[in-house]
């Protein structure tokens, strides 16, 4: 029963903090807290969110540092205690300390992404500009939407994954970046990026940069090209330049949370 009494106290503190200018800080962030949080995570969270935190059949990826239903540690605490309406996420009956420890563990999943960056970020930024990355990618409110939004890329990819993305862009391409091609029944060739799909239609960004719906019944054939449209920089940049570019990308953390 002691455990259950602690929960309302910790939650009440979190709620009170909502009304102040400063969000409640996690008081349990030591390595030991993180380790205990990891044990709780594996027992209570991993079935849905994956043992690695990268998501599962019933729960989203928690390893990026960006969360669908929370914008800070206090929000993560609230989601764990209250659950999320309309989803499989229940509220958990753990005490406040245990929940803060889980928050620490989850935060650690994304904090670990920024390690082992050895390049020069300033030089990397110059390479970013010189190579025209912004012609395809979106960054902090400007650019193009053909490629991945890089504004918070450091929360999504590790430096090693960024290096692979630069040298072998087609190694792992998420379905939303596959190139969609089709031929209509009247013989027109169509190409674009597939944003959404149901039985009857597709919503695409077409090759002219316009949003449009395509009715499947109007198509003769369609296909998805899993290769990335991004060129490889393996032969265009040397290893030090690649490290510098990765170092710059690793600074792109998105808006402060």
């Amino acid at each position: 029963m002691t455990i259950r009494f602690l929960l309302p106290l910790a939650y009440a503190a979190a709620l009170a903090a909502q009304h102040s200018d400063t969000a409640l800080k996690n008081p349990f962030q030591s390595p030991d807290d993180r380790a205990r949080g990891g044990a709780f995570y594996r027992s209570q969270c991993a079935s849905c969110h994956g043992i690695d935190g990268k998501g599962g059949a019933s729960g989203p990826n928690l390893s990026t540092g960006n969360f669908r239903h929370a914008s800070n540690d206090e929000g993560v605490f609230r989601v764990i205690t209250k659950g999320v309406a309309g989803t499989a996420m229940p509220g958990f009956s753990m005490n406040g300390r245990e929940i803060w420890q889980i928050v620490s563990f989850i935060r650690g999943l994304s904090a670990s992404r920024a390690v082992n960056v050895t390049g020069d970020a300033t030089a990397g930024r110059q390479l970013f500009t010189a190579n025209g990355c912004i012609n395809c990618h979106w960054l902090n409110g400007a650019g193009a939407a053909r490629g991945l939004d890089l504004s918070a890329i450091a929360t999504r990819l590790t430096p090693a994954e960024m290096h692979t993305a630069l040298t072998d862009p087609s190694a792992e391409v998420a379905p939303e970046y596959w190139t969609w091609r089709a031929t209509s029944k009247d013989g027109k060739t169509l190409r674009g990026q597939r944003f959404n799909e149901d039985t009857f239609s597709l919503q695409i960004l077409d090759s002219a940069g316009l949003l449009r719906s395509v009715i499947k019944a109007d198509l003769r054939e369609q296909s998805l090209d899993h290769r990335s449209p991004m060129p490889s920089f393996r032969d265009k940049l040397n290893e030090q330049q690649l490290k510098n570019l990765v170092a710059y990308l690793a600074t792109l953390q998105g808006a402060a949370k």
Binding site: R42, S47, I51, G56, A57, K82, G86, G91, E176, D198
Partner: protein, 525 residues
């Protein structure tokens, strides 16, 4: 309104005009005798009214309609009485649950039962409650189980004679499941059948250690009833822990089984275990469909069962004899069924610490959403999830009261419970289809293929119209004879409920919960 119903009595019984149980009838065929909406005029369907739920929880309920009044549950445990002609509310009853309850997969409720003028509902905090259907006032409430042990009551109760039958969810929280019957007037418990037999009880020998103490066996979908045999049929859910099955050697009865109980006493008449020693979380919590028809030249009382494990079964429901089992989706965990219906398992197709890819994925070939059988077409209809897999993980886990106790997890491109906001996964990672099977052979007769999967149930009518909805947000009518699309309406939200149809003021209506809204359609006039 009611006089109009009486005028129709010569052609249709009140049972045909109403929808008085979760499954529509005791045989759970999800088939209606109504014929106003036809393949020829379905294109003229239009929206008649909507009910906007205030709850943002998943809307899995199928309503009841009795003589012009609709009763439904708004998740988790609010009961609403509506005018079935207009959608206007008569009354609302709100059951207050504690802040923390223990549903595995969302704070949901699937519906109500009604007997005379009393409605019955199970609650997330382990209660069975009785509500006056006229006034919306509480008649009584009964604590069925201590919900803090991981129990939740989510399915619509089933009325048989003077009893209310109720089971309990909690297969991921280390419960021991049961089905119990309560006196409809007082709530007093009459009988109780434990789905995990205790020491000394038949079936306990299939548990070889103390794992039975938290062995699962939940019941979270309404069963069926055969009045002539006085047997009631219920599907039992997964064993616990779900995926780390090495800690519970044995077949683990009566998990992942169908049980046939004497409706008066709760005594087990027979059982059939679809998935002995279930290691995949394939609850046998599907709709037991009761059909009387000839099979191999002999009239049979059949039980048709499309199971989450990917096989479609024919069982003699009087004796429990296994008659036939045929795969209805891609599966790779078994090579077939032996002559007793026991799966012949493929070695290595089990959850592991590093993950094992297995077909079908964790939601199975189909699940709790209703199939239908039409005596007009003699076809069995269901929503399938086909050509999709899951990566199944297992790890050690100690039981703690009221805590998650699954012993593993699942990764999959096809999400189990909630659709992705934008549907752009690899189309090759799985698809959904409404499929019509020949009940005699299990062979596919036709299918209506969809891009995404569906948690929508099916209702068919005597006019050979089939209604269903899907995860994409489409609600549609098909020609039940050939699967041709007759009508489609994009409603935007995810369907995770079974549709129903009824008559009000002499007009046929069809109703479905989509997203957070209940939609009712009828023909343009």
């Amino acid at each position: 309104m009611r006089s109009a119903l009486f005028l129709l009595a010569a052609a249709l019984s009140a049972q045909d005009a109403n929808w008085t149980t979760y499954h529509g009838n005791y045989s759970s065929t999800h088939h209606s005798a109504l014929t106003q909406i036809t393949p020829a005029n379905a294109k003229n369907l239009e929206l008649k009214w909507t009910f906007q739920a205030q709850s943002l929880e998943k809307f899995e309920a199928t309503p009841l309609v009795v003589d012009g009044v609709m009763y439904l549950t708004e998740a988790p445990n609010t009961v609403v009485a509506l005018d079935a002609a207009t959608g206007r509310e008569f009354w609302i009853y709100e059951h207050k649950n504690p802040e923390v309850t223990y549903p595995c997969c969302g704070k949901i409720n699937r519906g109500l039962a009604i007997r005379e003028n009393t409605l019955y509902m199970g609650t997330l905090d382990g209660k069975l409650i009785a509500i006056d259907a006229i006034t919306g006032q509480l008649r009584w409430e009964k604590v069925v189980v201590d919900f803090k042990d991981g129990y939740a009551l989510t399915h619509a109760p089933l009325i048989i004679k003077d009893k209310v039958l109720m089971g309990t969810a909690g297969g991921e929280l280390g419960i021991r499941g049961f089905l119990a019957a309560f006196d409809a007037k007082t709530g007093k418990e009459i009988w109780k059948f434990k789905t995990i037999p205790e020491p000394g009880e038949p079936g306990h020998e299939t548990w070889h250690n103390d794992a039975w103490k938290h062995g699962g066996g939940p019941i979270w979908l309404t069963g069926s009833y055969d009045p002539a045999l006085n047997l009631t049929y219920w599907g039992v859910g997964n064993a616990g822990p779900d995926w780390n099955a090495k800690v519970r050697p044995g077949d683990n009865l009566y998990t992942s089984s169908v049980i046939a109980l004497d409706a008066d006493t709760g005594k087990l008449k027979w059982h059939f275990q679809f998935t002995p020693h279930d290691e995949w979380d394939w609850d046998s919590v599907q709709t037991p469909v009761l059909v009387d028809r000839v099979w191999r030249g002999r009239p049979r009382k059949l039980l048709l069962w499309a199971n989450r494990n990917g096989y479609f079964y024919l069982i003699d429901r009087a004796t429990g004899e296994f008659l036939q089992g045929t795969p209805f989706v891609k599966l790779d965990w078994a090579t077939g069924l032996d002559d007793k219906g026991r799966p012949v398992r493929v070695p290595g197709k089990v959850p592991t610490p590093q993950g094992t890819v297995i077909y079908p994925g964790v939601q199975g070939g189909t699940n709790w959403f209703a199939p239908s059988y039409s005596p007009k077409t003699d076809l069995f209809y269901l929503n399938v999830w086909d050509d999709y897999s899951g990566t199944y993980f297992a790890w050690d886990q100690e039981y703690e009261r009221g805590k998650w106790f699954a012993g593993g997890g699942i990764k999959a491109d096809v999400q189990s419970v909630r659709r992705d906001r934008l549907a752009r996964r690899d189309p090759k990672s799985g698809y959904g289809a409404v499929r019509a099977l020949n009940p005699s052979t299990g062979a596919k007769v036709w299918e209506y293929k969809m891009t995404d999967v569906s948690e929508g149930g099916i209702v068919t009518t005597a006019a050979n119209v089939l209604f269903s909805g899907n995860r994409e947000g489409n609600f549609f009518a098909l020609d039940a004879t050939n699967g041709n699309l007759l009508w489609n309406m994009y409603l935007g939200g995810q369907t995770a409920a079974s549709p129903m149809t009824y008559l009000v003021n002499g007009k046929q209506r069809v109703t479905i919960a989509v997203g957070h809204t209940l939609y009712t359609f009828g023909l343009r006039e």
